[in-house]
């Protein structure tokens, strides 16, 4: 093994908050050699990003780093800012999660790459431009010379991340720190970006420190894995050791919580959808258009969409971002007008319903939104948020309403005393439980769940999915479960509908879709999901790449 690029010894990061030092990462020890990938995994708040940022002292001024971080034998802890700047971007380059916000929106991507180059090398503008176009070619951006002059918002999510990688590679850094590099991307795009990173690593022989919460990504990329919890290193070993012989209970728990696509141990879906009866939700040839705004032309988000959901049935709606799945969800309960077609909820046609008609319909429907932090009113105690639909529907008030609120809190397994708390006093998982309690307040026949778990950590997500399933068993509501995560849909749903570019690609029983998908798009979507098992993922990856080549 060659000399490691990065050696981290007894590295601790603490934050000074209100007069106390709070440790965020404690006694970290690891090293990475050229061509190697070390993954740091853990849930939010475990200190993994803090560790990555702390290496090059990129944290806020209230952070304190101790221990030793050596890059190519040079100490970074306590180094002068001018020394640190020389290493940042040149020896250690970063790739961040959301390339839309991580690239400056007012400069072209070419400008930003040239800026990096000219900061570290004595280069003329033309020379730097040539090198930048060379880098954009390296990361497979279509039309590199043209993309040089594009602004971040003119590129797609995947292209932006490629631009970000091109910028990171500008100075041939020995180490790439990739902080959740694919979390904001669709699975198919994620697979492409991971392929790109793997290819570049081999070509340039650089080391990668991969920070992620996604075990599938880890299995796809990592040689070595370090598991973190509450700032501590829980377990550290090779990918094979961690995935196949985890020794620490937390590692086992983390791996156990990861939903596995098509895994053999699967919950038996108890609720039996009564197919014979009339559908709760009936969408017939629904077309939805976002009207023209100024010079922005009208956009057809959903085209001739057909879907029925029967009582007691959970239907998963999957697709990449921009495929129109959220639009379908909103229109299904009358939050968006439709241009053509027919929508029926519990036998009532709402295609041309007035606001007043919809008011009555909404007592039969509930919706859970993606981000629980922003979909609960921050100024209302959660008890009021839950009780509001009941009160507005005129079903109960006073003491009776209090009783109902307590029942709902019991149902979502939160203490009754929480009713007087405000949303910011709860964790993400607890907030999402409130979201579901509110949606279920009127015991709806139809629940729309729009990516309810995508903002949650895996272990929290697993508990939330359990709860949703128990509630569905008990209350027998029909559910349209919108998600980009096939593994989650796999756990929960009876049937799956796949969307692409506003059209329904395929709909069918869960196993039929996941195991014997007919449509090539569905097949590609499923193939792109990384599985949390390095050996299996390697086979899947090769199969997918072979399929693409064909």
């Amino acid at each position: 093994m060659s000399e490691p690029i990065l050696k981290v010894k007894d590295f601790t990061v603490e934050f000074w908050v209100d007069g106390v030092w709070y440790p965020a990462a404690i006694n970290m020890n690891f090293q990475i050699a050229p061509g190697e990938v070390l993954a740091i995994v853990g849930e939010s708040g475990s200190g993994k990003s803090t560790t990555g940022m702390g290496l090059m002292s990129l944290l806020a001024t209230n952070a304190r780093m101790t221990g030793s971080v050596q890059v190519k034998g040079h100490e970074m802890i306590g180094a002068k800012p001018s020394v640190l700047r020389k290493y940042r971007g040149k020896e250690v380059a970063y790739i961040f999660q959301e390339p839309m916000t991580a690239l400056n929106p007012v400069y072209t991507i070419g400008f930003q790459i040239v800026e990096t180059l000219r900061t570290h090398f004595d280069m003329g503008p033309n020379q730097a431009k040539d090198r930048a176009i060379e880098l954009l070619t390296l990361v497979d951006i279509p039309n590199p010379a043209g993309s040089f002059n594009k602004y971040p918002h003119q590129l797609s999510g995947g292209q932006r991340q490629r631009a970000m990688i091109a910028q990171a590679l500008a100075c041939d850094p020995g180490l790439l720190v990739a902080d959740e590099p694919t979390t904001a991307l669709d699975v198919t795009v994620q697979a492409e970006i991971l392929d790109l990173m793997r290819g570049l690593k081999d070509k340039l022989n650089s080391a990668i420190l991969l920070i992620t919460h996604d075990m599938g990504v880890v299995a796809d990329m990592a040689d070595e894995i370090l598991v973190m919890k509450d700032g501590l290193t829980v377990e550290h070993g090779t990918a094979d050791e961690i995935f196949n012989r985890p020794s620490h209970p937390y590692t086992k728990e983390l791996l156990g919580a990861v939903p596995k696509l098509g895994s053999s141990v699967k919950r038996i879906l108890k609720a039996d959808p009564s197919k014979g009866s009339a559908p709760v939700l009936n969408l017939e040839n629904v077309t939805i258009e976002y009207p023209k705004r100024g010079r922005i032309p009208a956009f057809t988000a959903v085209k001739e969409f057909n879907l029925q959901i029967f009582p007691g049935e959970i239907v998963g709606l999957v697709g990449e971002s921009g495929s129109g799945k959220t639009t379908v969800g909103r229109a299904a309960i009358g939050l968006l007008p439709i241009k053509a077609g027919k929508i029926e909820i519990v036998g009532t046609d709402i295609s041309h319903a007035t606001q007043k008609d919809l008011f009555a319909i909404r007592r039969h429907t509930g919706i859970v939104f993606q981000d629980p932090a922003s979909s609960l009113n921050p100024r209302l105690p959660i008890g009021e948020s839950i009780g509001e639909p009941i009160f507005l529907a005129g079903i109960a008030k006073g003491e009776a309403l209090n009783k109902k609120i307590e029942d709902l809190l019991d149902q979502v397994e939160l203490p009754r005393s929480y009713r007087n708390r405000y949303p910011h006093e709860l964790s993400g998982g607890q907030r999402q439980r409130i979201g579901i309690a509110r949606a279920l307040a009127l015991t709806p026949d139809l629940l729309i769940a729009d990516e309810p778990t995508s903002a949650l950590d895996v272990s929290v997500q697993a508990r939330f999915l359990d709860l949703l399933q128990d509630l569905q068993d008990k209350l027998k509501f029909a559910c349209l479960f919108i998600s980009h995560d096939l593994a989650v849909v796999d756990i929960l749903t009876h049937r799956i509908a796949v969307m692409q570019d506003g059209r329904l690609v395929e709909v069918g029983e869960r196993d039929q879709i996941l195991k014997h998908a007919k449509d090539p798009y569905t097949q590609r979507l499923i193939a792109a999901v990384p599985v949390p098992n390095p050996a299996e993922q390697k086979i899947r990856r090769e199969a997918r790449l072979a399929a693409i080549k064909k």
Partner: protein, 330 residues
């Protein structure tokens, strides 16, 4: 880009057309009879009729408006064919009977003073506002920040007539550093012009810089927590490059909007400032015209102020296109 500019200009002209119709409507709705007001004390019915004819008040309102608009573009002649015939070249904004002068000439006399105040003061307030805002943001929480915030708060809460008089007392009466405010053409005597203008500049600059200091500080602090600033640091850029090329650039956009509105408004007449420092500008002309119900002057000043604001807004939009690529490209 060009079509955008054309659309903005067409929009601006539409606004001006509406403003002109609206102010012109004053003639019709106002209870005072303009002919009576112009007639003066020794008025006879014959004289009234003559003035009414001279002012063309005997014509239907739409004809009056049409002639007014035509006068702006092509000039017009009052009382043609008589010995009192008065030619008014384009842009003709009307004729004030009370002062016996063409409105355009009155405005021409007054614009330089207002322009001097507005441009000098705006340079000063942008300089003071931006630099104290930048300093505050970079040294957040230190005494520099606190001092500059206090300074801004004082500026935001004080009034021109108070600060103006205090400064005049100190710098003119006691120290005699500057001359008593007034207006001399900079082409005749630039030194005197500056010495007389410096007090209004300082006063307005101090008072108006407050909002700029606060906007700059808040904007920069917000931008500093953006992800792309973290990226810039991770690239190894120097602090100076990050602060000026990345942070300030992004924080500038809202400031440009406010600046356009402030400058446009001030060009239409810095009423209180002109009064306090006794400077013969547009604001003073307008208030005097209002007191005397001299309608042609009111119409003229309002239109000119509207032109300034519309032009300032178009300039802001153009600047926005330079600053924000999303506006430029969508």
């Amino acid at each position: 880009m060009l079509s955008y500019l054309v659309r903005r200009i067409v929009g601006g002209i539409t606004v001006l057309a509406f403003v002109s119709i609206f102010v012109f409507g004053l003639f019709f709705v106002i209870p005072a009879d303009p002919a009576r007001l112009a007639c003066g004390k020794s008025c006879t019915p014959e004289l009234m009729a003559e003035i009414r004819h001279g002012l063309e008040l005997d014509q239907p309102l739409q004809v009056q408006y049409f002639r007014f608009v035509k006068g702006i573009f092509f000039g017009r002649t009052y009382l043609p064919g008589t010995e009192a015939a008065l030619h008014c070249t384009a842009p003709c904004l009307g004729y004030s009977y009370q002062t016996d002068e063409l409105v355009t000439n009155l405005l021409k006399d007054r614009v330089p003073a207002t322009l001097s105040i507005a441009i000098g003061a705006s340079i000063l307030w942008v300089l003071i506002g931006l630099s104290s805002g930048i300093l505050s943001a970079l040294r957040r929480g230190t005494w520099i920040d606190k001092f500059s915030q206090g300074f801004a708060l004082a500026g935001a809460s004080l009034q021109i007539y108070f600060v103006g008089l205090v400064l005049q007392f100190i710098f003119v009466d006691k120290l005699a550093w500057f001359h008593a405010p007034g207006y001399v053409s900079p082409f005749e005597d630039p030194k005197e012009w500056a010495l007389e203008m410096i007090l209004p500049w300082l006063t307005l600059g101090f008072l108006l810089s407050a909002i700029y200091a606060r906007l700059t500080r808040a904007g920069m602090i917000e931008v500093m927590s953006e992800d792309y600033i973290r990226t810039a640091r991770a690239k190894g850029l120097s602090n100076r490059t990050i602060k000026f090329k990345h942070v300030l650039r992004a924080a500038l956009t809202p400031i440009v909007t406010v600046f356009g509105l402030d400058l446009g408004g001030l060009l239409g007449g810095a009423v209180i400032t002109e009064y306090v420092f006794n400077i013969p500008g547009l604001g003073k002309l307008a208030t005097e015209a209002v007191t005397n119900v001299d309608l042609p002057i009111i119409v003229g000043t309002v239109l000119l102020a509207a032109v300034f604001i519309v032009v300032a807004n178009i300039l802001v939009d153009l600047l926005y296109m330079v600053l924000d690529p999303k506006v430029r490209l969508s």
